[in-house]
């Protein structure tokens, strides 16, 4: 893939995620999904930048806010939207909904309802990769809120001493529900906190998809060379409430507007591509149209898909090999 195509496809993926999220949130507000969602709008560059640096069979494990990661890992809008509606055609066959997107066979070791649990699983996957002698990496996503969960540091320490091919990505939108990071997180820069655990750690602009991609690509090389894990704190922002419908007073409208206006990852990236001659208006407009069509198709597909059969709740709980 040439640079132009690659850049355009990254841009399109971000646009698709944005459209997906805003569409899903609207559907949730209208009661069309199985519960609310955790909207990732504003954080697209993290997801797309990370995945752009990974190989298709690298592993990811993530959080309750994972639509963007999942779509960027090339799960189709159809199967993600269908999962939000808990349809059998969904990523998790309708059993997971918004928080539990995953498919082990495709290297997606799951979203997670439990803060920071996914990162630990990502660490375990990295151990699996190392034990199997494979040339892959595992990415563990965690939020800023997960920086205060003890298991996070257990996992990072373990990855560091064992030099596991793990990349810890902090999808740092600076808030955990209503709680601003600095209110509950001592010590300032998270990269400094992480570096005390003996692994390379940096803080980067999570709104700049190229910066994200390059940082992850470097970390991946480092891991594949047997050097172990890397910690990357990506500063980003979520535009909507923690979950569907939430309208908190814990941050100002000005703050949100400021990020939207001056640091939007999609607008920034599009502007850059325009400037560098890698994108023209017609292509951009076309992208918008095709993204809109893709999401509408996903909604239709999902609405037309059936829910899982209630009678199947006892299927696939275990392998059956230990049944009495």
């Amino acid at each position: 893939m040439g640079a132009r195509e690659e850049m355009q496809s990254m841009l399109r993926m971000m646009m698709m995620i944005r459209n997906f999220e805003e569409t899903a949130d609207r559907l949730a507000l209208r009661g069309k999904l199985s519960g609310g969602i955790h909207n990732s709008s504003g954080q697209e560059a993290v997801a797309v930048g990370v995945m752009s640096a990974l190989a298709p069979d690298d592993v990811i494990a993530t959080t309750h806010r994972s639509h963007h990661h999942t779509l960027a890992k090339n799960f189709s809008a159809r199967e993600v939207m269908a999962e939000l509606m808990t349809k059998v055609t969904g990523v998790s066959k309708g059993r997971g909904a918004s928080m539990h997107l995953g498919d082990v066979a495709r290297g997606h070791f799951g979203g997670n309802g439990i803060v920071a649990a996914g990162m630990g699983i990502g660490m375990g996957a990295a151990l699996g990769i190392k034990m199997a002698g494979d040339k892959k990496v595992s990415v563990g996503f965690v939020g800023d809120g997960g920086m205060n969960t003890g298991r996070t540091w257990e996992a990072i320490n373990m990855a560091a001493i064992w030099k596991l091919p793990l990349i810890v990505v902090v999808d740092n939108n600076q808030y955990a529900v209503e709680t601003f990071i600095n209110r509950v997180t001592a010590g300032g820069d998270l990269a400094k906190r992480a570096s005390g655990f003996g692994l390379p750690a940096s803080t980067i602009d999570g709104q700049n998809v190229i910066e994200v991609r390059d940082a992850v690509a470097a970390a991946r090389e480092y891991a594949l060379a047997g050097n172990g894990p890397t910690f990357i704190n990506m500063l980003t922002y979520r535009y909507y409430g923690h979950n569907t419908g939430e309208k908190g007073q814990y941050r100002t409208l000005e703050e949100i507007e400021d990020w939207r206006t001056h640091r939007d990852p999609i607008e920034q990236f599009a502007a850059r591509l325009f400037k560098e001659g890698l994108l023209d208006q017609a292509t951009y407009d076309e992208m918008k149209v095709s993204v809109e069509a893709e999401i509408q198709d996903a909604v239709e597909f999902s609405e037309n898909s059936p829910h899982p059969d209630p009678s199947e709740v006892m299927l696939n709980i275990d392998s059956g090999k230990l049944r009495g």
Binding site: M99, P308, M314
Partner: protein, 323 residues
């Protein structure tokens, strides 16, 4: 009824009154100050008492409970609010090995409440565990499972005036129910069940949202002339086995129900003990009703298929009525 306080408001009312009464009481947990907790259980309390007594924490369940344990040993009366009971998994050592065992070894009391919302609703496998039996099994812990606004407030007050670690489990699907509540000195004792509905033909023993399912089943059967008694346990430990046995002795027919996976759930304790103690009164076996042994799907239809329905409850009651 429409003007009665909700289950969450009952909690607010109880905690507010007690915080005025006793300045040692304080609350800590995530997202309590502005949001009022994920179930509005402490809505407005931070505004009234300030950020020192309603403390927003990092997402650090182990440290949250440890903070409560140490502060309680020091003489304060912390309420650790975990929002969802599932998150207690991150603090199990602090709850089970520490809070519950300290008095026995070190002779200091641990007046600590661990509140969380529990029970089965939407949200999938990680937010819908049923840990009642874990906590009720643990020496040193008491477990409250209020089924009405009145009991939320009254049990909370009792817990806040005792000197022991209490796991306080409120049910998700009861969050919005309304009902009368008591005044500042209306305490509900632990270990005293409530007869939620009187009836002479058979008894359903339950707690939490399953009481609603049982009530619907009782209505169905009332239409057929069967009078079903419903016992609301209110606390799982201590458990009011006397109330259970007394009811059982009236007619010898009993169903025990909740929505935890059936195997080794708290219903087993009740059925086993009642079967042993009141064996001669039994017209036939006690029947247990519970959830299927499956992680909880996020799909609403599958949720309904996993936990007991009104039909399941009616069938179980009919079975004991058939003896």
């Amino acid at each position: 009824m429409a003007n009665d306080p909700s289950y969450s408001e009952a909690y607010q009312s109880g905690i507010r009154e007690e915080m005025y009464r006793d300045s040692r009481i304080f609350i800590l947990g995530t997202d309590l100050q502005e949001r009022g907790g994920h179930f509005a259980q402490v809505k407005g309390i931070a505004q009234e008492f300030g950020g020192e007594r309603v403390r927003d924490t990092p997402i650090s369940e182990a440290a949250m409970v440890a903070a409560g344990v140490g502060a309680a040993m020091y003489g304060m009366r912390p309420v650790v609010d975990l929002n969802f009971m599932d998150f207690s998994l991150g603090a199990m050592d602090e709850i089970i090995n520490q809070a519950a065992h300290i008095r026995y070894m070190f002779n200091g009391s641990v007046p600590l409440i661990i509140r969380a919302t529990s029970g089965i609703a939407a949200g999938g496998a990680h937010h819908n565990n049923s840990f009642e039996s874990f906590f009720a099994h643990t020496p040193g812990l008491s477990v409250a499972v209020p089924g009405t606004p009145y009991d939320v407030k009254g049990l909370l007050k009792t817990a806040l005036r005792a000197d022991d670690p209490v796991v306080f489990m409120m049910h998700k699907k009861l969050t919005g129910i309304r009902g009368p509540i008591g005044g500042p000195e209306d305490l509900v004792p632990f270990g005293k069940a409530r007869i939620a509905r009187e009836g002479a033909d058979a008894t359903v023993v339950s707690y939490g949202y399953t009481l609603v399912t049982a009530a619907k089943a009782a209505e169905v059967l009332a239409a057929e002339g069967e009078q079903i008694e419903i016992i609301d346990l209110r606390t799982l430990f201590p458990m009011d086995m006397d109330a259970v046995i007394n009811s059982l002795k009236k007619h010898g027919r009993m169903v025990v129900a909740d929505e935890a996976p059936l195997f080794a759930s708290i219903t087993a304790e009740i059925a086993a003990t009642a079967s042993e103690v009141a064996f001669d009164s039994l017209k036939g076996p006690i029947v247990r009703v519970g959830a299927q042994r499956a992680p909880l799907s996020a799909d609403p239809g599958q949720v309904d298929a996993t936990i007991p329905s009104v039909d399941d409850m009616v069938a179980a009651i009919r079975k004991v009525l058939s003896y």
